[in-house]
Symmetry: C2
């Protein structure tokens, strides 16, 4: 019997930092996947069809290349799943204590920074106040993250191997740049982000290289 030839599918939006996390994970683990773009700016994510796949109407959603058709949702849950089912390029250390330290970096970004400054929140804040809002919460968040990295960083966020923390750092750093923060205020974060830019899995998954990236933004990542 041959193994399944079904391709994995990722519902993604070029500029979503949460979708980018999963693209990096898939590329680090060399899992082939098809991208199905969901346009968050035209409310394509709010259709009843898409909400059946992802109840919050958010990206990413991921369908694995196995016999199940149900999509997995929530970026960190998807990364944990990929890490458990694909031992190649582990994203977490083996020791439970070290693993918890990496997960605390992941969750500092995924729970304490990203959600407060995501687009559905900024839209509710309104265009007059959204810049001030994003700057306030992004700087508060990056400062705390920088203090965590003082204790944990080596070449990367946790020691000298790429982990799940790095997978979240690069997309969040990009959001900081978009929010016009002076990211050199966070020297460890700045250095780690620069180092990761050299890695093919981070480069290839950059928003500017996505099939649904509008032509005027294609230069950004070069």
């Amino acid at each position: 019997m041959s193994t399944a030839t079904k391709q994995a599918v990722l519902y993604s939006f070029w500029r979503s930092s949460c979708a980018w996390r999963v693209r990096i994970g898939l590329n680090l683990k060399k899992i082939p996947y098809e991208i199905r773009p969901i346009n968050l700016t035209t409310d394509e994510n709010k259709t009843p069809e898409y909400k059946k796949i992802q109840p919050f109407g958010a990206v990413p959603a991921y369908i694995d290349n196995d016999d199940k058709d149900t999509a997995l949702v929530e970026s960190v849950a998807i990364l944990e799943y990929l890490d458990e089912t694909r031992p190649e390029f582990p994203l977490l250390p083996k020791d439970p204590y070290e693993k918890s330290v990496v997960r605390s970096l992941v969750q500092a970004i995924a729970m304490d920074i990203q959600p407060i400054c995501q687009s559905r929140v900024l839209r509710y804040i309104g265009s007059e106040k959204e810049d001030e809002w994003a700057k306030h919460f992004l700087s508060e968040g990056f400062s705390a993250l920088e203090r965590m990295l003082e204790k944990t960083a080596g070449k990367y966020a946790f020691g000298d191997l790429i982990t799940m923390a790095d997978v979240l750092i690069v997309p969040q750093f990009y959001n900081g740049v978009r929010g016009e923060l002076d990211m050199s205020q966070y020297p460890i974060l700045f250095r780690i982000n620069n180092t990761l830019q050299e890695e093919e899995a981070f480069k290839a998954t950059h928003p500017s290289r996505q099939p649904d990236c509008p032509p005027e933004f294609r230069e950004e990542g070069n």
Copy 2:
């Protein structure tokens, strides 16, 4: 040689839903712990001393009963750590796919609902607008969670065994009640929360039963 007699320590605030998550996990797994209350209303969490322990100045932080003195931070990272180091009362299913489904419920609460309505965000919004804000994002979040539970729930959030998803549901439900939402709009959530109220680990860890709960709120949980 005798085993360590050091007691685990939890930095907690009676009304913090994130601290409550970890209290439930510790109680389900019958790990004895000492509570060190950190008063979020008097900015005790913003002192340089506490920020050395938890860089965001948030609760919980957890020091295990081993030879390490460094605190673990971020509630879900702590729960994952407890689950890996204490096999008693597993909080996640064994199958990676099912595990990912439970983690997606966990993260729907921990990333898509709680952070947007936490106290440091509401304080920034200001007392005039915070009620409307909390109601908007809590109802949006609970509606999506209810749709996820339609696919996953049995007696509890995922089938008929208590999982990490339930550990997060009860404190978040409590926040919904505090935000004066009509929680009967979410019948599955409502039923699961009621069922969990019968469990000792959820009862004993209720905010109203905490050592730092002010006397006027002690009746709440009875």
